[in-house]
C-alpha cells in the first residue's frame, strides 16, 4: 500500500481526503501510480497527464519512471500559488 498526500484542488477532487491509500499491483513506478489514479479519480489522472498536477516522491518532483519504494513519501501537487495575490 502506498499513501499519497493530496493538496489544494487535488484534495477537493478526491472528496476532501487529505491522503489516499493505493495498491500498486502492476509496477512500482510513478506511471503505475498514475494508472491506478486514473481508474479511481479520473479528473486527477487527467490533470497529471496534462502536467497541471505534479507527482513528488520524498519531497522531490518525480518523473513517470521514478520508482516508488515502500515508505516513500508520495504527494500530488497542483499548480503552485504561493506568494500573495494573483499576479502580485
Amino acid at each position: 500500500m502506498i499513501t499519497v498526500r493530496l493538496f489544494g484542488m487535488t484534495k477537493m477532487l478526491a472528496g476532501n481526503q487529505g491522503t489516499l491509500s493505493l495498491n500498486l499491483v502492476n509496477g512500482r513506478r510513478v506511471k503505475d501510480l498514475v494508472g491506478v489514479l486514473e481508474t479511481g479519480y479520473p479528473a486527477i489522472g487527467e490533470l497529471i497527464q496534462k502536467k497541471k498536477v505534479l507527482v513528488s516522491v520524498n519531497q522531490e518532483i518525480a518523473h513517470e519512471d521514478t520508482t516508488i519504494q515502500d515508505g516513500d513519501e508520495v504527494a500530488l501537487l497542483p499548480p503552485f500559488a504561493g506568494g500573495a495575490s494573483a499576479g502580485c
Partner: protein, 150 residues
C-alpha cells in the same frame, strides 16, 4: 537528498508560519549579519480584495509541510550563491488571511542596492514558481483554488 532539517540559520531566515510577522524584526535579523550591509531590498506580498476580476473576501493558504520549507531553504541558498548579497530572509504565512494582511516577505541585505534588488525579484519569482503552497480564494460566489501563471 537528506530529509534531515539543517539546524541554525535556516530556521532563523526561512519560515512558514501561521502567525503574522513584523517586517522591522526580520530586517533587524538580516542587518544583524554584517555591518557591511548598505542596501536592503524587501518584497512584501499582501492579500488584495480583487483577483482576476473577482471580489475576494479572504484567502486560505495551504502548504506541503516539510517540502515547502525545504524549497524555501534551497531558494535562500541559491540566492546567497548566485548574487553578491550578504543575507536573505524568506517567510510565508499559511492558514486564513484577511484582505490587506501580510502573506509573504523577502528581505535581502547587500552591500549595494542593485544586487539586493536583483536577488529580491529573483527570489519572489522563484518562490512563486517552485514552492508547494496553494491558495483558496473565498469569494461572494464561493471558494476557488487558484491556479497562477506568473
Amino acid at each position: 537528498m537528506s530529509m534531515q532539517q539543517p539546524a541554525g540559520d535556516d530556521a532563523k531566515f526561512v519560515r512558514v508560519q501561521r502567525e503574522d510577522f513584523s517586517v522591522d524584526a526580520e530586517i533587524n535579523r538580516v542587518r544583524g549579519r554584517s555591518k557591511r550591509i548598505g542596501g536592503i531590498s524587501i518584497f512584501l506580498g499582501t492579500a488584495r480584495d480583487r483577483s482576476k476580476g473577482r471580489d475576494v473576501d479572504r484567502i486560505t493558504f495551504e502548504h506541503y509541510e516539510g517540502m515547502a520549507q525545504k524549497t524555501l531553504r534551497e531558494i535562500r541558498e541559491r540566492a546567497l550563491k548566485d548574487f553578491d548579497i550578504i543575507e536573505v530572509a524568506i517567510l510565508h504565512r499559511y492558514g486564513e488571511i484577511g484582505i490587506g494582511e501580510n502573506i509573504v516577505l523577502i528581505v535581502v541585505g547587500a552591500e549595494h542596492r542593485a544586487e539586493a534588488f536583483r536577488a529580491c525579484t529573483w527570489a519572489i519569482d522563484e518562490l512563486k514558481r517552485i514552492t508547494p503552497i496553494w491558495k483558496l480564494e473565498h469569494t461572494p460566489e464561493g471558494e476557488v483554488w487558484v491556479e497562477e501563471h506568473p
